[in-house]
Symmetry: C2
Subunit: 249 residues, 2 copies
């Protein structure tokens, strides 16, 4: 890749470090730099793009703050793998009531109830911006801590974005890492919508609670680096033994 092009007029240009960052994010989106890969050194990137090392550093620092990169002194800069405990729990906010205070230390395992392709309904088409008669995967599962069921959820994925998924592939614990590794979709952020709802009759047996019990409904959309919604998930969470924790800064 050659040096960055100069913008026509200085006035309407983004700062140089922002354009450098854009060029680097492009390489993540395109898959040129895959999760876990080591980036060239700051000086190498600077020389390649024709800017100073300090400018490259500012771009890398921002990307690190966003969680796209991991920097290790003395070793290098790497594409984030979403592998560390911290990143694993980045999107997992439920905590057992008795674990209050510390970060969740247990990660529940999954039990699969159903996994099949369907024609997308209107809501799914709207969420994923799909044409008529497009197909989606629907995956129903429960999550447990030991013998206790903590939540039921349905994960919806557009088939076009997940070619090669089959009815027997089990999602691993860290699904977002799985999406990145196998399908090249890097999640940049997720939007969640929380409500308290009365437990539906068809879900009640799965959670071992009476129909009508208040449960926490979490409606989540995962957004990829390119802005596309790649996953829709609705979770119904027992609220008597766990809570959703959040820190606002």
């Amino acid at each position: 890749m050659a040096a960055l092009e100069k913008p026509a007029r200085k006035l309407e240009a983004q700062p140089l470090y922002a354009r450098v960052k854009g060029a680097l994010v492009e390489r993540l989106i395109s898959g040129q730099w895959k999760p876990g890969a080591m980036l060239p050194s700051e000086f190498a990137i600077a020389a390649e793009l024709g800017v100073s090392q300090g400018t490259v550093r500012k771009s890398l620092d921002e990307m690190t703050a966003q969680g796209l990169l991991v920097r290790r002194q003395g070793k290098g800069t790497f594409v984030a793998e979403a592998a560390d405990t911290e990143i694993l729990f980045r999107f997992y906010r439920l905590t057992r009531d008795e674990d209050e205070g510390r970060t969740a230390t247990r990660f529940p395992d999954s039990r699969y109830l159903a996994q099949f392709q369907n024609t997308a309904n209107e809501e799914e088409r709207r969420i994923f911006n799909l044409p008529h008669s497009a197909k989606v995967w629907r995956i129903d599962r429960t999550r447990h801590d030991g013998a206790q069921t903590l939540l039921w959820e349905r994960i919806t994925l557009p088939c076009t974005l997940f070619e090669g998924l089959s009815e027997t592939t089990e999602l691993p614990n860290n699904v977002y890492r799985f999406y990145a590794k196998n399908f090249g979709h890097i999640v940049s952020h997720v939007n969640e919508k929380l409500k308290a709802v009365a437990l539906r009759e068809d879900i009640a047996p799965h959670l071992g609670l009476e129909k009508g019990t208040p449960v926490l409904e979490v409606d989540r959309r995962a957004i990829a680096l390119d802005g596309q919604t790649i996953e829709w998930r609705v979770s119904l969470c027992r609220s008597d033994v766990q809570h959703y924790r959040n820190v606002l800064r």
Copy 2:
């Protein structure tokens, strides 16, 4: 204030910009720089502390990212007032269902039900780390959008931290700004714990719902810059017309 002291050994020292930041945060905590005040210029701070302007900039950038400061090109650097819409909504996560997508544009008004001093119970003493027989303020109120009640909440404040509050002072819409301006407590972050619960009988009339209806319970602790918990708030939120939104990055 004189130049920063050199640490005994370089090895165990924090980076210079971190110590600069610490020194500046001290001035916020001590009230030397009050909300809304303009800070000296980068060069002035640098000269005073005996470091370079770039080092001061790095400290100021971090504090800006934390929301402690607001920087305006051409004007100066100011202590954040929690006055802008964005900051006003930083801690307000409830959105009317029909407003989905955009940031909340309406901020509900309040109706006060009760406001009185009490001896702290065991839970309150634990939360605020108070001695026996310490006193707390308890403020009960509802919040509305037009004729519709959206939530009931109880705010608990330790009397020692809020000297001068009376039974007739109404909290303004932006309470955290009020705390900063009148009592010098700058909120650095809040911890929230969410659950779905069945509506209690004594609260039901306030929300205009049946006893037992699922409502969203938000348990919030506000933490000041010095690490002290300064406010405990439990909100019971109608979940049929609004939701709690969250973005995880």
